[in-house]
């Protein structure tokens, strides 16, 4: 390989389901193309967190062509062990009452209404960490290079700004003040013919590329914040819950009709590996309560009588937080000239593009599907990389991804605009509605207080410890407050510095009367801070490679 080690044909940024699907598909149809996937986490799957209910079709399609006998492998049997056979959709009213409203969903489906898509029987309930690990191994087996522990901080474009020529890795070995230590390594430049951005939600490179290449979104990107815990329970509790069941719950503690609170989202209860149950809370990041934290909602949820019986007395063995891109169809970044999702030789996939279907509240299948399409696009345009993004977009438009994204077109925006009470019924009209102008999540913050705040104290330290997050302490902070004056003169007086509350890992603290990212090494890479700071005053960049959480069963 000699001096060419810093050049690859296809560089995939991010070893998640989307990026790995690209690698697997590409190596299957064009084994001779050299494919390199780089990932910032120290091991495959460590930065992947999801519910997760997986609609299996795209994965099956991918694997059937790549590894025909995949079903017989131990990994397949482990990762895809649990098929959903029982689908509960609950509505919680207060701390004790619960109603199963699955029948409403069924009716909606009968009448062809949008949210009738929210059904999961026949899907798999999976650990996305394990899924990713498995897909990574398959990609390697097919000859792709999958390199973990390398964080990318920038994308380099040619003069026309239509094509990317390279990416730049993060500098390593700087101390807190930015001085070079003896082990300093300057961020390497990796040249590539194709760049696939599959970084997940709110991707660092994706957003830099959107800016540098002047891509546009019709509507601002909206996000949700998900927090999840995996709880070791007794065998009796696990059996009572059942390993083929998934529960989605709306209402308390994030939405109560009339009296509030009024937030979008809900709780989940999924089976994990034997004697483990996963509970999670997903809350639209347009919440308006300045003292709110999704973890408080999770604690309230866990103490609801319906949930508590399954997990009471259990121990949290793993925990984590992550954002979900919910802007949908209108928030997909596109080249304004050609509508391509990406530009030239750069393609944007999965959560980085925002391919989450909010009617199904699922995006994993679309991420994999987009990976397949990206691979096909590269294979077809291998001699004309400048056409890759257009080809990729064509393929996406013909795929199930586009069908789903169109059908869910206005759902989340309707709710953002009108609130869950009016928005949910309005969303029935789905695609008929015009595109709304909605505000960015961070603009939603008000001085209002979360009604159920005082119910339970949340132990963030333990939560962070269970995410097993780790960064080299002596490095430059990867979190920046752009203008400390805003914190002091505007945010703290009005909202009492919400970042201190909502950061799931307790990164922010007031030190000598100044709000600071005091514990950057606690960071879970969820990036909620850069989207929810009421004054858009925080920026997240990638820390040294291998830093971050160590999810294994999330």
């Amino acid at each position: 390989m000699g001096s060419d080690c810093n050049r690859v044909s296809v560089l995939i940024v991010g070893a998640g389901p989307a990026g790995l699907a690209t690698a697997i598909q590409l190596k299957t149809i064009r084994p001779q193309i050299d494919v390199c996937v780089i990932e910032k986490s120290s091991d495959l799957g460590n930065h992947n967190l999801s519910g997760a209910v997986l609609e299996a079709e795209p994965l099956h399609t991918l694997l059937d062509s790549a590894v025909p006998d995949w079903r017989d492998s131990d990994a397949a049997k482990d990762v895809l062990a649990k098929k959903v056979s029982k689908d509960n959709v609950m509505f919680f009213l207060g701390r004790k009452l619960s109603f199963n409203i699955f029948v409403v969903i069924k009716l909606a489906k009968m009448f062809g209404l949008g949210f009738g898509q929210m059904m999961h029987v026949g899907d798999y309930s999976v650990s996305i960490s394990k899924l990713t690990k498995w897909m990574g191994q398959l990609a390697k087996d097919l000859g792709a290079e999958v390199l973990t522990g390398f964080a990318v901080e920038d994308i380099i474009l040619d003069e026309s700004a239509n094509m990317a020529t390279a990416v730049k890795l993060v500098d390593q070995g700087l101390d807190k003040e930015g001085n070079k230590q003896p082990n300093f390594v300057e961020g390497e430049i990796i040249n590539a013919d194709f760049v696939v951005l599959a970084e997940g939600c709110d991707g660092l490179l994706t957003e830099r590329f959107v800016e540098k290449a002047n891509l546009q979104r019709q509507s601002p990107p909206l996000y949700s914040v998900g927090v999840k815990e995996l709880i070791k329970v007794t065998s009796e509790q696990y059996e009572k819950f059942g390993d083929g069941r998934v529960v989605h719950a709306m209402g308390y503690p994030i939405w109560t009709p009339v009296i509030g609170p009024g937030m979008f989202g809900g709780g989940i209860i999924y089976p994990g590996e034997k004697d483990h149950i996963a509970v999670g809370m997903i809350v639209g990041a347009d919440w308006k309560y300045c003292d709110f934290n999704p973890q408080d909602a999770l604690t309230n949820f866990k103490n609801h009588s319906f949930v508590k019986k399954f997990i009471d007395g259990g121990t949290v063995v793993e925990a984590g937080a992550k954002m979900i891109p919910e802007g949908g169809y209108y928030a997909i970044p596109r080249n304004p000239a050609t509508s391509s999702i990406g530009k030239g030789n750069v393609m944007i996939l999965g959560d980085s593009a925002g391919f989450v279907n909010m009617l199904k509240i699922k995006g994993l299948h679309n991420a994999i599907d987009s990976g397949i399409q990206a691979a096909k696009a590269i294979a077809e345009t291998f001699d004309r990389p400048e056409q890759a993004a257009s080809k990729y977009t064509n393929l996406i438009e013909q795929s199930n991804v586009a069908r789903e994204m169109t059908s869910a077109m206005n759902f989340r925006q309707t709710i953002a605009k009108f609130g869950p009470l009016q928005g949910m019924p309005l969303s029935v009209f789905g695609g008929l509605l015009p595109k709304f102008k909605v505000e960015n999540d961070h603009e939603a913050m008000t001085t209002a207080r979360y009604r159920y705040k005082k119910n339970h104290e949340f132990d963030k330290d333990t939560f962070t410890a269970m995410a097993a997050t780790e960064h080299r302490e002596e490095q430059l902070s990867h979190l920046t407050i752009l203008d400390p004056d805003i914190c002091k003169t505007r945010c703290t007086p009005a909202f009492k510095s919400p970042c201190i509350t909502f950061c799931p890992a307790g990164v922010y603290e007031t030190v000598h009367e100044e709000v600071k990212p005091a514990n950057p090494s606690n960071c879970l890479h969820c990036k909620t801070c850069q989207r929810k700071c009421p004054f858009d005053n925080i920026r997240w960049t990638a820390p040294e490679g291998t830093g971050g959480p160590h999810y294994r069963r999330m």
Partner: protein, 699 residues
């Protein structure tokens, strides 16, 4: 130009133990369920070698990583290649599996010889660089044993190197201080105790590493003399989960309650450790001394004790009172009566075992004394206490091997502590501790008198000396024992053998080990674990002068400078307050530890001493003399307060005998919280001032 051979080892990641890594039945940690990583200290050793190469402006020197392990161990070699290694060698063969430290060091040394011959073309200008110890075995034995096999000088516990006048001067940790030394000649072995800046992988090197060829050698390629299970001199007979800590492990949420508990624990003197001793087993008695012929209540395992009890009952019922009466006919009868319990083969083994009454080993029980500045190290007295107990059971004498210069005045204290004979090796060249000279002296005495047991303190010095001596005299050695008992394993024909129990895998499991294929059973024991006897000045003992011929060539190191900690550290204080890495910087350490020291000494009217974890000392927060723990000083105050100390096993060993341990740590997962009596989860910066305020306002 120097070449470097860096020894690396793949170990289970004991820092990330998930709940599903434990066997639900036995509670034992299952190694295969843990991720595999490079041993952290080996990663530091690699960076250290790279730094040496850079500092000496050496363009041509080659860095070679060597490991021994299963095929998957090549991952750690690729780790090396992705950073700075030029070539890598994997020693892998089924025949090499199941090895103890001797059967690990031996093939590694033979592989080094092969590397020197074939790759370095017999150029002897090279360093073997390795981590001081691995996190799984934690023995620190392999590097000194390799040194012994290769006949090189060894510089252990190195923390820095400076290239001066064409050679390296190394700074290393010694008990209670530090020392600057140089190797008299190359090659030499360096064991690294700490190097702050492990290397980052680069993208380019990683891609190259993944495609690079690995040199693979099998057992036949190196022709080592001690390999695998057969070449090992110790065997593990039992692995079990560590006993539940007897500490209270109670969380306190506010500084005021903690202040009250502090004062209360100090005044009541009723510490965290449970006072009821764990089922104090009866003192071992030799089979010939037991009242009953069939009494086998000192077997190594519970199961064997029970089996022998059933056998004894059966035999009694049959009216047999003497072992010699058991012939084939009687055997049949016994089988008929107790056949449901035993297979025929097992029964025959048991009966054969019953015929045995003579111990498998003979000779005295020895302690190798450690001393400095004319005083005996406290750990030596503890070992003599233990040796006394073992020797009484075995009906033999306690000998102490004392190597030094003008050391005879110390003999009196050793005798008072329980020794019967002091074997003095007096030589000018033994004045300062030089492992090469000392190991020669001690090994010579041992192979002259052949004691059946030799104990060393698991101090930096003992952990260096013991592996070299044991390797030299061809005996097995178990490191860092916390339990030493005489037991029988009658079925295997072993009577009165030493069972050596020690923690492994970072304290997550306990292992009981016994010696095999050796003339003497050797162990290092953790300071602070064994109990010394009250000194008895009326005791009489013999002094035996042992002559060993030593010359200048027997010393491997040139000692340039020794810095012992300033004498004003008083670890006999009733209260010790230690700061760790969590103190962030020296200012915080001095301010906060100082504040609390002052507050507590006023409140309790006693002396309060400052301590520090090794990490804090390395970071420069405190002087080396204040270091508490395995490589520092073991302490036993009434009250030990650990501020921002994670509680690595090496630290906790050093405070095991404390009455009450109190921890303040912001990490709720810090191991120390499971090994202390009271703790607050919170930052040291917030908690300490609150605590001091609570102490001063109370009453």
């Amino acid at each position: 130009m120097s070449n470097y051979i860096v020894l690396v080892k793949q170990v289970p990641d004991v820092t990330q133990i998930t709940d599903n890594a434990f066997d639900p039945e036995t509670g034992t940690l299952i190694r295969t369920r843990l991720a595999s990583v490079i041993n952290e200290l080996d990663a530091q050793a690699l960076a250290f070698a790279n730094q040496m190469k850079r500092d000496s402006d050496d363009k041509n020197g080659e860095v070679i990583c060597l490991t021994m392990g299963p095929p998957m161990a090549e991952e750690v070699l690729r780790y090396g290649l992705a950073r700075c290694a030029d070539r890598v060698v994997l020693l892998t063969d089924r025949a090499l599996g199941g090895a103890d430290t001797v059967a690990t060091a031996n093939p590694l040394a033979f592989a080094i010889r092969k590397i020197v011959k074939e790759i370095f073309k017999n150029n002897s200008d090279y360093y073997v660089v390795c981590g001081m110890q691995s996190v799984d075995g934690d023995t620190a034995q392999v590097p000194p044993q390799i040194t012994e096999e290769l006949g090189l000088a060894c510089i252990a516990y190195v923390t820095g190197a400076e290239f001066r006048n064409g050679r390296f001067e190394f700074t290393r940790i010694i008990s209670g201080g530090s020392q600057v030394v140089a190797a008299k000649e190359l090659p030499a072995v360096i064991t690294v105790a700490k190097f702050e800046y492990p290397l980052f992988a680069t993208f380019v090197a990683t891609r190259r590493a993944n495609k690079a060829e690995i040199i693979r050698w099998a057992s036949d390629d190196i022709k080592a003399t001690h390999i695998g299970v057969k070449g090992s001199k110790t065997s593990v007979i039992r692995v079990f989960p560590p006993g539940k800590s007897t500490r209270k492990c109670r969380q306190v949420t506010d500084a005021k309650s903690l202040a009250e508990l502090l004062v209360e624990s100090f005044k009541s003197g009723n510490g965290g450790t449970d006072d009821t001793p764990q089922a104090q087993a009866a003192r071992y008695t030799l089979p010939g001394r037991r009242a009953e012929n069939f009494d086998r209540s000192f077997e190594a395992t519970k199961k064997e004790i029970e089996d022998y009890k059933i056998l004894a009952d059966t035999v009694k019922k049959l009216g047999i009172s003497k072992v010699s009466r058991i012939d084939d006919a009687v055997k049949e009868k016994i089988l008929a009566a107790a056949g449901e319990h035993f297979h025929k083969r097992a029964l025959e083994d048991m009966l054969n075992g019953l015929q045995l009454t003579e111990p498998g080993f003979s000779g005295e029980v020895w302690v190798v004394a450690e001393h400095g500045g004319g005083a005996v190290h406290p750990a030596t007295f503890e070992l003599i206490g233990k040796a006394r107990e073992l020797a009484d059971s075995l009906e033999t004498k306690v000998g102490v091997c004392l190597a030094g210069f003008n050391a005879e005045p110390m003999a009196k204290d050793l005798i008072a502590a329980g020794a019967d004979g002091i074997y003095i090796i007096d030589d000018k060249l033994l004045g300062e501790f030089d492992p090469t000279a000392h190991r020669k002296a001690v090994a010579d005495a041992i192979s002259t008198y052949w004691p059946q047991i030799v104990l060393y303190a698991a101090t930096p010095q003992g952990r260096m000396l013991a592996p070299m001596v044991s390797y030299r005299v061809g005996c097995g050695l178990t490191a860092d024992c916390t339990g030493l008992d005489i037991r029988d394993s009658s079925r295997r024909g072993q009577i009165a053998i030493l069972l050596q129990t020690r923690p492994a895998l970072g304290g997550n499991v306990m292992a009981t080990i016994c010696t095999k294929n050796s003339k003497s059973q050797m162990a290092t024991a953790r300071p602070g674990v064994m109990k010394k006897l009250p000194p008895d000045n009326s005791r009489k003992g013999k002094i035996i002068k042992h002559k060993v011929r030593l010359c200048e060539a027997d010393t491997g190191l040139e000692i340039i400078k020794t810095e012992l900690g300033t004498g004003d550290v008083n670890f006999n204080a009733e209260v010790i307050i230690s700061g760790g890495k969590g103190m962030q910087n020296r200012d915080n350490y001095e301010r906060l530890v100082g504040l609390l020291c002052e507050g507590l000494s006023k409140k309790l009217d006693t002396q309060v001493e400052k301590g520090a974890s090794r990490a804090a000392v390395e970071q420069g927060f405190a002087e080396r003399a204040h270091q508490v723990g395995q490589t520092g000083t073991s302490v036993a105050p009434k009250l030990y307060i650990a501020l921002g100390i994670s509680g690595a096993i090496q630290h906790m060993i050093g405070v095991a005998n404390t009455e009450t341990i109190i921890a303040v740590n912001s990490d709720p997962n810090a191991p120390i919280l499971k090994q202390c009596d009271y703790y607050i989860v919170g930052s040291v910066e917030d908690t300490v001032p609150q605590l001091v305020a609570a102490l001063t306002t109370e009453n």
